[in-house]
Symmetry: C2
């Protein structure tokens, strides 16, 4: 059993939109990701997803509003809700979602990550 230091884990990678697994509990994964630029519109039909901002400002676009997330703020996007994360400057986030969650949800494409690295 080891503790996880977020800054130390973030120092291990620099690429964007490639979530890394840093923990598992009760079938849920804890992931870290660096975001920069615009992601794709997508939804997860069966999984709620939590975005916790560690550094930077995350713009979460929803179909009816845009929510700005600052450090130490989080948003839970319920299953079925379309969303598009946008990071004008680099954002560091911690994610919570079931092990089954695909990063691009129902919108598979170039950005889809199937095999996530475990840090």
């Amino acid at each position: 059993m080891n503790k996880v230091n977020l800054q130390q884990k973030f120092s291990l990678f620099a690429e964007h939109w490639t979530p890394k697994i840093v923990g598992e509990l009760n079938g849920q994964l804890v992931k870290l990701a660096r975001l920069k630029g615009e992601f794709v519109w997508h939804k997860h039909d069966h999984e709620d997803e939590m975005f916790y901002v560690v550094e930077g400002i995350l713009k979460m676009e929803l179909r009816d509003q845009t929510i700005l997330l600052h450090p130490n703020e989080f948003l839970i996007v319920p299953k079925g809700v379309e969303h598009k994360p946008v990071a004008d400057e680099e954002v560091l986030v911690m994610l919570f979602e079931p092990a089954s969650t695909l990063n691009t949800g129902d919108t598979e494409g170039e950005l889809t990550q199937r095999e996530l690295e475990i840090l």
Copy 2:
């Protein structure tokens, strides 16, 4: 759908060892708690539990070691593992655990919280 600001939520209560619910996803709860002093030794037979430190230094005593958690560090205590959180000074933590988790696990007593407040 609303974002959650941790500092704002923490400003709503001052008492120790009384987790408040601030989010729910996939059957898991996100809770905030203020810790100060020594908790009781306990374990959760069926639930893994995650402690994420927001402020202060949390001393997690385990039967074979003690782990110090600083801000932006977390520890996942697997089901069945006895643990005792100790906070020499006040510590602010975010917890992730199934909705079914009782704060004192298998050691019910004065500190047990059955009805958690939703903030």
